[in-house]
């Protein structure tokens, strides 16, 4: 009898406790923020969100940055979180087209994000709808060694012709004008993207990565012709060099210029460069008069189709989109906020990046491997790598890419 009573009380207590627990709603977030800076930024973001929404508890699952790219395919179909990190542009297309990401146009509509996140609107839109919220991006451009420029008496170039004529000065001094490390393929794509954006403009580049223009087109050949001008002054054997190893060429003054993303600044500084020796410039002009476009890969947060707590997930997206939140988060990340009302820290490279991105009237490209579908991106980047080593293989490379284009965009 006594036992029965105890059991009854226990059941009663449990019954009362359960609804109390349920009031604390959980929101799961899967992220690839495994590096120190992104991890700190996400910690801060979630603390801020929980402080404003005390009834929501955010559970974070951190994945290794590279492993995440495979893991997301598994967890989206098997055990879906309420929120997940990903990238803008064509990179999110497979998930949008297979119905794994939720349409969040209403979040954009209700919070006026089309104005405040305007720089990323086009890269977040597929079929006229928005599929996630961007929270950070960073600029690409040319990082250069100021000491080396002084040593040979070169001016920072404004046009591609000036850049090439500088190269002759560097060559005379035994310095590589341009360095890179294409072992991981993508650094070569940065060079191609900028050459194409400057030669043919943003619209052409987008059509090319969308498969609407044949690779054998004369305008594509023109891009490679511009590239060929700088190849004699480029570090040899780049296909066997990691991008971090190429950084040391700049640090040691063996090379002058490096087309890279802003994340490399930390590596340059680890190598001993300072704001006085490391310079940043916008990629020089090639065809005069075309609207200036820039390259800025964007990181995003999405709601998977299988999310359980959609209402709070949408609340979270609206929070991430806010100007003050993006300002704070990107201070920790050392990157640029997308919200146009946000402010940027006094880091000179970020300031420069913010300036060129907010005034880029041509448009903002994501990056070759995010704008083009995966198979095309891979084949393209291999082609760029081969072209850098064997410029005379150009015809064979372009034909191979054209064959790939016909296959990839067929369906």
């Amino acid at each position: 009898m006594k036992l029965l009573k105890t059991a009854a009380i226990a059941a009663l207590v449990a019954g009362m406790a359960l609804p109390a627990l349920a009031q604390q709603r959980t929101l799961t977030l899967n992220t690839d923020a495994s590096d120190p800076a992104p991890k700190a930024a996400f910690d801060q973001l979630i603390k801020g969100f929980e402080a404003e929404n005390p009834d929501v508890h955010v559970v974070v699952n951190i994945f290794d940055h590279e492993g995440y790219k495979t893991a997301i395919r598994n967890f989206l179909t098997a055990d879906s979180p309420d929120l997940a990190n990903w990238y803008a542009g064509n990179r999110m297309a497979p998930f949008v087209k297979s119905g794994q990401f939720m349409d969040v146009s209403d979040v954009w509509q209700e919070n006026g994000l089309k104005d405040s996140l305007a720089p990323a609107l086009s890269s977040m839109t597929i079929d006229g709808k928005q599929w996630g919220v961007p929270y950070t991006y960073y600029q690409w451009g040319i990082y250069y060694n100021k000491d080396v420029y002084k040593k040979v008496g070169a001016e920072v170039p404004k046009t591609w012709d000036e850049f090439i004529s500088n190269c002759k000065k560097f060559k005379a001094a035994g310095i590589d004008c341009l360095t890179t490390g294409t072992k991981a393929l993508w650094p070569a794509a940065g060079i191609f993207d900028y050459l194409d954006l400057r030669t043919n403009g943003y619209d052409f580049h987008m059509k090319l990565t969308n498969g609407e223009i044949p690779w054998t087109d004369d305008r594509v050949r023109k891009v490679f012709a511009e590239w060929a001008k700088v190849l004699p002054y480029t570090t040899p054997n780049v296909s066997a060099i990691d991008w971090q190893d190429a950084v040391s060429n700049i640090v040691q003054g063996k090379a002058a210029n490096y087309v890279m993303g802003n994340f490399a600044v930390a590596t340059f500084k680890d190598g001993g460069m300072t704001n006085d020796t490391l310079g940043f410039m916008d990629f020089p002009e090639i065809t005069p008069g075309i609207p200036r476009a820039e390259e800025a890969p964007t990181d995003t947060i999405h709601i998977p189709a299988g999310a359980k707590n959609v209402a709070d997930a949408k609340k979270f997206l609206a929070y991430v989109a806010r100007a003050d939140v993006q300002t704070k988060m990107n201070e920790t990340l050392g990157q640029l906020p997308i919200n146009v009302q946000s402010t940027v820290g006094d880091d000179p490279y970020l300031q420069a990046g913010f300036k060129i991105l907010s005034t880029a009237d041509g448009g903002i490209a994501q990056f070759f491997d995010r704008d083009a579908p995966a198979a095309m991106a891979k084949a393209g980047m291999e082609g760029f790598q081969e072209f850098m080593a064997y410029p005379d293989h150009l015809d064979a490379i372009l034909e191979r890419l054209e064959k790939m284009r016909k296959r990839v965009y067929k369906n």
Partner: protein, 310 residues
């Protein structure tokens, strides 16, 4: 009296236990084999059949599968990257065989009674103990343009230097050289154990008959090492066909795909960041499986013959 009780039952009872015993004698091996066979079925046979099945589909791992029949195979026939991988696989197979004579040579060299010979043996065996990933890293630094020892050496010789891993014609050979390092050690250890069991009386008899040097090796020692040679051949062929880790670590298939092998190409197409073409990857896997089948059936045939004493 003794036979009497047995009579009524003899018509049906006597064959009973005998039949049962015969049945259980037939059944027992299958029962003992069953767990192993079940595992083999679930983890080997069924996945192989599934891979073949997937190779007829276009599938990205997320969306519904789409039947395209032989189209993946048709595309393979027209795929330069596939032929590059196939060619590299053949180069791997041929050059990897060098590990066998090299291992034999080192084993013969180390097969002497000296102070501290065990230390030398273990030093020679060392590369097999370290992971393939470490071997790959060491060799890619060795070859690296700029700071690599090999690059510095060639630069001193010819002025410009040869960056093996950036050269589409040399890269596969560079990776094979890295792979041979541990593989030679493996073959060496196989031969060293084999040499322990070479009959000393036969050596002595041959010596009395005047056999020396190469003749002794060829006619007396090597025939006794046949089991070791067979195992060395098997592990070397398997090693050459699974040459995935070194390619992945040293070049990721580059420069521009010229060091790909079939196993790496399959991984790239099916599972890597720019891949997720499961059907196409499966088609490559089927081709690789067919190539392996040639060797596997050869081995099975030989073992079957040996067991029957032919």
């Amino acid at each position: 009296m003794t036979a009497a009780p047995a009579i009524p039952g003899s018509a049906s009872g006597l064959p009973g236990p005998r039949k049962r015993r015969r049945l259980s004698r037939k059944l027992a091996p299958w029962l003992f084999l069953a767990p192993g066979m079940l595992m083999f079925l679930i983890y080997v046979i069924i996945p192989i059949l599934q891979s073949m099945w997937i190779s007829f589909y276009q599938w990205d791992g997320l969306s519904p599968k789409h039947w395209i029949g032989m189209e993946n195979y048709v595309e393979l026939l027209d795929d330069d990257a596939f032929y590059t991988s196939l060619k590299n696989n053949v180069i791997w197979l041929v050059l990897y065989m060098l590990a066998i004579p090299a291992g034999l040579f080192i084993a013969l060299f180390l097969n002497q009674k000296l102070r501290g010979i065990r230390l030398y043996k273990s030093l020679f065996f060392f590369p097999f103990v370290i992971s393939q990933v470490v071997v790959g890293l060491i060799f890619s630094w060795f070859y690296a343009p700029g700071f690599g020892l090999f690059f510095a050496l060639t630069k001193w010789l010819d002025g410009t230097g040869i960056a093996i891993l950036a050269n589409p014609h040399l890269v596969t050979y560079g990776i094979i050289a890295a792979g041979l390092w541990p593989q030679i050690a493996y073959c060496m250890i196989l031969y060293l154990t084999g040499l322990n069991s070479v009959a000393p009386d036969q050596i002595e008899a041959a010596r009395l008959d005047g056999a020396k040097g190469l003749k002794m090796l060829w006619y007396v020692v090597l025939p006794q090492l046949r089991p070791a040679t067979f195992i060395a051949l098997v592990v070397t062929i398997i090693g050459a066909l699974r040459s995935f880790d070194l390619v992945s670590i040293m070049t990721s298939g580059g420069p521009f795909g010229s060091s790909r092998v079939l196993s790496y190409y399959m991984y790239e197409q099916a599972l890597s960041e720019y891949g997720y073409r499961m059907g196409y990857g499966a088609a490559i896997a089927v081709v690789l499986f067919a190539i392996m089948m040639i060797f596997i059936s050869g081995f099975i045939w030989k073992m079957w013959r040996d067991e029957r004493g032919l």
